[in-house]
């Protein structure tokens, strides 16, 4: 089937293109960017001058499946992803069971294919059961399709374990994703230590717990010449360390998630459990440091860090609530808020969601070029909407952005040339 998306503003960070154009799609691939070569009878879609960009690549999301289908199924996650313009999603392995052997990993890949709208690229567990004790079969998992290795929402706590993982992953050209928090400091903590937690009487952990783990793992990256990637970096102190490590030439990369550049710790006021995240929201100075690091390249990518939770997880006293926020449908809109406020160019904002994660993972997707997969998002950068928990696409409704007005609405999403949203 042949499809032409006409009258669009094509924006592609990978090639630097930002110009009017139309895309010809054949057999699920981009055939041309100038609309030429279209056969008679091709389906034509008028994009009305809206932005057509590569489909978003979400570097980090937990899915309810397998193990927590009451929170979210892969089908419902795919629905939310399509509505958010996400066409590729990297799934964390700390599900139940953990993705620590080739069979469960392949199951995840197949479940993604079955949706028809979303490529699910699973991480392999770095340790068996993501328990931090015993390394998994990196080579076999890599062959089965693991994009990299991590224990997901759990920090790889022991320095020895992290050293081994960073070393061994080099043999397979892969890297380790760390949840950077020193666990002996963050155990049982529900908030960032400071005035806010003191007023609310919440168990809290110092923000420095993040920089401590980052400092340790940078030292291990130097020692092993391995590649460490820090997830959802949220503090200025950690970003300073990462900036210095990059300048030194170490193989250190990182991402952050929208809550850490859009919200600060005041969002947990009145014991709002939807804003209880891991790591917890930080103070305003840290939020500003994250914004600066997005602009200057210290942060490589933006990931949704989607964590589906249900009412039983969240409608409890704050310290007992499960951390995590739904983030698929809001990923683009919250990122574009940084464009609207003048902190990021449109090109940089989109790069963080497309070309940058594609480069990190070595993917074909994430660019507008002949021969690339026709994974596309069409959006109006100015159209407003309001985030309302309870009315979001998909099953998980636990958005930390509940009530937030956003500018930037997805109008259509295509996966391999097939329209999956809008």
């Amino acid at each position: 089937m042949t499809l032409i998306l006409n009258n669009a503003r094509l924006v592609c960070p990978a090639t630097g293109r930002d110009s009017p154009g139309s895309i010809l799609i054949e057999k699920g691939l981009i055939a041309s960017l100038d609309g030429t070569g279209a056969p008679e009878g091709a389906t034509v879609v008028d994009c009305g001058g809206a932005i057509l960009a590569p489909g978003l690549i979400d570097l980090r999301a937990s899915l309810g499946e397998p193990g927590h289908e009451h929170r979210e199924t892969i089908e419902s996650a795919a629905e939310a992803a399509a509505a958010g313009g996400i066409t590729t999603l990297c799934a964390l392995p700390d599900s139940e069971p953990a993705l620590d052997d080739p069979a469960t990993l392949q199951f995840m890949l197949r479940r993604g294919e079955m949706t028809g709208s979303l490529s699910i690229l699973p991480y392999g567990a770095a340790t068996r059961g993501c328990a931090g004790k015993e390394m998994t079969e990196f080579g076999l998992l890599r062959e089965a399709g693991a994009i990299a290795f991590t224990d997901g929402t759990r920090a790889i706590a022991e320095a020895r374990m992290m050293r081994l993982a960073l070393s061994y992953a080099r043999a397979f050209g892969s890297f380790i994703v760390q949840h950077p928090e020193e666990p002996s400091l963050t155990r049982n903590a529900a908030a960032t230590e400071g005035e806010m937690a003191t007023r609310m009487g919440l168990p809290s952990a110092p923000a420095a717990a993040e920089a401590m783990m980052v400092a340790r793992d940078i030292a291990l990256a130097r020692l092993t010449r391995g590649h460490v990637h820090f997830a959802h970096v949220s503090t200025g102190a950690a970003l300073e360390l990462i900036r210095a490590a990059k300048a030194e030439g170490l193989r250190v990369t990182c991402d952050t998630a929208p809550p850490y550049f859009d919200l600060n710790e005041t969002a947990i006021g009145d014991f709002r459990t939807y804003a209880k995240l891991s790591p917890p929201l930080r103070r305003e100075a840290d939020r500003q440091a994250v914004v600066a690091a997005l602009a200057d390249g210290t942060i490589d990518a933006i990931a949704s860090d989607h964590q589906p939770r249900d009412a039983d997880d969240k409608r409890v006293p704050f310290a007992q609530a499960e951390p995590g926020g739904a983030g698929l449908a809001t990923l683009l809109g919250v990122t574009l808020a940084q464009f609207h406020s003048g902190k990021l160019s449109l090109m940089r904002a989109l790069e963080l969601l497309t070309a940058a994660p594609a480069k990190l993972l070595g993917l074909e997707a994430g660019r507008l070029a002949p021969g690339a997969p026709a994974d596309l998002v069409l959006f109006s950068p100015d159209r407003g909407w309001k985030v309302e928990a309870g009315k979001l696409p998909g099953k998980a409704q636990n958005s930390p952005f509940d009530g937030r007005a956003l500018e930037g609405r997805v109008l259509g999403t295509w996966k391999a040339g097939r329209r999956v949203f809008g």
């Binding site: 005035e195 007023r199 009487g201 919440l202 168990p203 014991f271 409890v316 006293p317 704050f318 310290a319």
Partner: protein
């Protein structure tokens, strides 16, 4: 006279001084009536008050029970053993049960910060926070303030030292908010491991040396140190804590000669306070605190019941 405008009493943080004064004045009048033996009133007649305690507390529960009965309410005590509570969902199940039973006033004690606020979102009753986790214990701070005001004649410009395990103390937090709102100077005194992070941002002065912290204080407020804190390594031993932060005659000498000594109870004698001080009738006002507790809770229940009736 201002009228307390809220449906619940969940926290003192942010409560405007006129409403604090209103509650204290009303409590003082109840204290006088109680002393005069005229204890029975009927302002809560026909209303149902439920004491919902997820955490054991004989004295606070008894105080609320007595306050409710003296005002003519039908008082029911519900103790929910924490071991049987499957975390929070039971909390909201409980809320719907209470709504079905047409509860008018609900007094809640819970080990989790914010639990009464969560319940308050779901119940029709007016909710009194009777202590939530390490967050707040508003009626305790009100009874402390009333006791101080009766002894000192005013709250204005007094220097008050809150001493001991401030980190885990909801009593300390509520007292800090109230006393600062009423223009007191508030100090917190304790080892750094028991002082909450950035507590000075609330407007208090922090002392780690008890003698310096007590210097020229008008009021010395001691807090309970729970045994678990020593197991958790926050302080190495009871004897070390008593040596440096326990209130004895030598340390009390640094406070003003007429300084009063308070404790929210129950006391750990020989840990945070020397028995000789706790039992000294010229310094200790611990007994009066308990007495004022009933009067303060009568005032709070009275005011919330008026708002409840107005809204229904």
């Amino acid at each position: 006279m201002p009228l307390y405008p809220h449906r619940h009493l969940l926290a003192l943080q942010g409560l405007e001084p006129p409403y604090i004064a209103e509650l204290l004045d009303l409590a003082e009048s109840y204290a006088l009536l109680n002393r005069g033996g005229k204890t029975q009133r009927d302002v809560l007649r026909g209303l149902t008050l439920i004491n919902l305690f997820f955490e054991d507390s004989t004295r606070t529960r008894t105080s609320f029970e007595l306050a409710g009965k003296r005002l003519g309410a039908d008082v029911i005590n519900m103790s929910v053993s924490t071991s049987s509570v499957n975390k929070g969902e039971t909390l909201l199940d409980t809320a719907s049960t209470l709504n079905a039973m047409k509860t008018d006033l609900l007094v809640v004690r819970h080990a989790q910060s914010g639990a009464p606020a969560l319940l308050a979102q779901k119940v029709d009753a007016g909710v009194v926070n009777a202590g939530d986790g390490t967050h707040e214990h508003p009626t305790q701070a009100l009874l402390d303030a009333l006791t101080i005001r009766r002894r000192k004649g005013t709250l204005e410009n007094l220097t008050i030292a809150i001493c001991g395990d401030v980190l885990h103390s909801r009593v300390a937090r509520s007292n800090i908010h109230l006393l600062l709102a009423m223009n007191c100077r508030v100090r917190v005194v304790g080892p750094p491991t028991l002082i909450p992070s950035e507590v000075e941002e609330l407007g208090v002065e922090v002392f780690h040396d008890m003698k310096a912290g007590l210097k020229d204080a008008d009021v010395v407020m001691m807090l309970r140190l729970q045994k678990e804190r020593m197991a958790g390594g926050l302080v190495p031993s009871a004897r070390e804590f008593f040596r440096f932060y326990g209130l004895d005659a030598a340390k009390l000498r640094h406070a003003k000669p007429d300084a009063i000594v308070m404790h929210p109870g129950p006391m750990n004698r020989g840990v945070e306070i020397d028995s000789a001080i706790a039992d000294d009738p010229t310094r200790s006002v611990i007994g009066e605190q308990v007495e004022m507790g009933v009067a303060v809770r009568m005032a709070v229940l009275d005011v919330l019941a008026q708002n409840q009736r107005r809204n229904s």
